[in-house]
Symmetry: C2
Subunit: 406 residues, 2 copies
């Protein structure tokens, strides 16, 4: 007998039939002798629909109100899923983010979970209820509704698993698990039976959409075991867990790509201390997440170029901020490019093997793919390239690192 | 400078264009120097859509979960309306039922408001915000979400007007005000410039759908001035207020009808004390509201028939309860009729004028309309008739009491 958290994403609760299928799987898990806490997203498309409505009434809707609006989607699926479970003869209770005691900071639309009280939920589980919790939402200490940002239900699930001291957090989605790369691009892509938190984190942050980045970060920090599975079949999925010796033998685990980034270049920045910090402080204050940053040493010691990437949705906003600062600083100009993609190879085994970066650059060069920016970490190498080369780069790198072989 | 509560129903916030029109009216009211608290319903059709989804997942959905589900509709319109007001350049803040501090009892789907704390809302109004409150919803002392039943946003509005000590509570709907009867049936129906709480209460409970019954009861009890107006034009509407001398001069103010009732008859009930109380206690315990009750003296002193009406939606449930008790009591049988309507004439002047009932019965008889049940109060006479005679009865009574003349 264990305690299992099961999170179902938007496609898994997209309609009444899917919700009933979720209820059946949940009840089956409970009948196997487990306590079950279910976390659900809004029906797929619902959050985008609500965002669309908001933008029809106001060009830049207030984010506090936006959170009240968006949190309604998960309330619907939470209630319906609990009803569907009860219809199968099992006790169930729905919990809103507030009722679950999910306390967040006050950064509306991108809030961070600060703690989960969850007394009522624990009591319900002890009394034999399956609990169904609204993902993606929380509440501030001063009673305002918050949401956790795109994909935030994954974070809800992992945090709830930790709060309830669950044995495992199962993330149900529309794919079987984590693959060496996108099977839509490379048919030979292979499903991984397990992957380390670190690798998963890099893959998630690099645009492999199986798990939301912050949820992986959270799982890694608190060592919450996560399994990524499909809600459309009974395949075993991929276990995301602590690094072990087997994993270290594999040099590269996967190739990821991300088309949702934009690149901004500040041209001719005077080369003096404090420039970069001023720019990136202002961007951070606007809650925009900067990913890669590249600055070259100026050839003449007077002016340099700074390039960085941000989510494409924040591109124009960032451009505006950057232009303001560029003027102040006497830079020559600012350039925004949205037609880019980030390609990365990831693997914990990379730490002890040199030459991965060189092999990657060489492979891309052989196929005529120009590299605009490079960034590396202990377990990944990322390159910014023209978006039109994305699929080509993924295919040739998957092949070059022999990822189709187990 | 006053404090005005404006409530907008489902048709008034049915789409983005209507929400923008509401925002304009609200901002106009604020610019005239008023503090404004707005109460909104869900978009028209939304609540029914959610109920439909619930019944697709479960034949009798849990009512606690139903309330979490249904409360989502008003969250959407509340947030969107606040955004639309802000887009017009005025400060606005959305409040869920909980954030407004609307505390109710624990009768899910039909909860009663116990108190409204509203500190945060008062503060926001003082700081120059237009506040937008989600109607229809509240929260129990133990943090469960509740809804107030069909039309509950009217009650929210009147209760909020009282809690904020507002000067007036304006109820915006898709009709101009309160009419002498349904203009769809009688084109000569006349809009009343004012009407007493008592008359409005009878009209509301008799199926004139302009205001929800409990909201009128509440307004009457605490003497909250209510104005019923259209959100589609600037016509002055109908003031619902305390009875005055002018009103007493009018014998009959309106003719109402209600097709949403079902009649249940218990046949051959042994004529002994305590029978009726046992039956109606059990029905009341199921939170079913009984409207009319008629019991004739038994001709032989041994057995009698009891007839009563309930909302049509509760008809089958009531039948089941009644059949159980009828068996226990040794009654001969129970009969449910759903093809009935209630026709009523209402007026505070009736108190001091005899003959209203007789004139009503006479008029119906002249047109061949059979009366199944009769019930009277100080200011109304109601008859149950076959549903097919509804429109005919309304027309001939409107004419017989000369209601087309001011």
């Amino acid at each position: 007998m264990g305690l299992i958290v099961q999170k179902y994403g938007g496609t898994s609760v997209a309609n009444i039939e899917r919700i009933k299928a979720v209820a059946e799987r949940v009840v089956r898990t409970a009948k196997q002798g487990n306590k079950v806490a279910v976390v659900v997203s809004a029906m797929s498309g619902e959050t985008d629909k609500l965002i669309g409505l908001a933008h029809q009434v106001a060009s830049s809707p207030n984010e506090r109100e936006m959170d009240i609006l968006l949190s309604s989607g998960e309330r619907v699926t939470t209630a319906l899923t609990a009803m569907a479970i009860e219809a199968l003869g099992h006790k169930a209770m729905a919990f809103t983010g507030r009722q679950m005691g999910i306390i967040t900071d006050t950064v509306h639309t991108k809030a961070r979970i600060e703690k989960i009280t969850g007394e009522k939920a624990r009591k319900a589980l002890d009394e034999g209820y399956i609990i169904v919790v609204a993902g993606f939402q929380g509440i501030t200490e001063t009673d305002d509704v918050t949401t956790l940002g795109r994909g935030g239900s994954d974070l809800s699930a992992v945090a709830i698993a930790l709060a309830l001291n669950a044995d495992v957090c199962e993330i149900y989605t529309d794919v079987d698990g984590v693959y060496t790369t996108d099977p839509n691009i490379v048919p030979e892509a292979r499903k991984l039976s397990k992957i380390s938190y670190e690798e998963m984190f890099e893959l998630a942050s690099l645009g492999a959409k199986v798990l939301q980045t912050r949820s992986v970060e959270f799982a890694m920090k608190y060592e919450v075991p996560v399994v990524v599975r499909s809600s459309f079949n009974d395949n075993p999925g991929t276990l995301v867990t602590k690094e072990d010796e087997d994993m270290e033998k594999v040099i590269v685990s996967g190739v990821a790509y991300d088309k949702n980034q934009a690149k901004i270049t500040v041209i001719g920045v005077p080369d003096m201390p404090g420039i970069a910090s001023k720019l990136f402080k202002e961007i951070a204050d606007s809650n925009i997440v900067v990913d890669m940053i590249v600055q070259n040493i100026s050839s003449d010691g007077k002016a340099t170029d700074i390039s960085f990437t941000v989510p494409k949705t924040d591109g124009k906003k960032t451009l505006k901020i950057t232009e303001g600062i560029a003027k102040e600083l006497g830079a020559k100009g600012v350039d925004l490019r949205e037609d880019i993609a980030k390609i990365s190879v990831v693997g914990v085994g990379m730490r002890t093997h040199s030459g991965v970066a060189a092999h990657m650059f060489d492979t891309m060069a052989k196929h005529g793919i120009n590299i605009m920016m490079i960034s590396t970490s202990e377990i990944k190498v990322s390159c910014i390239i023209g978006v039109k080369y994305t699929e080509l780069a993924v295919r040739v790198l998957h092949d070059a690192f022999g990822l189709e072989k187990a």
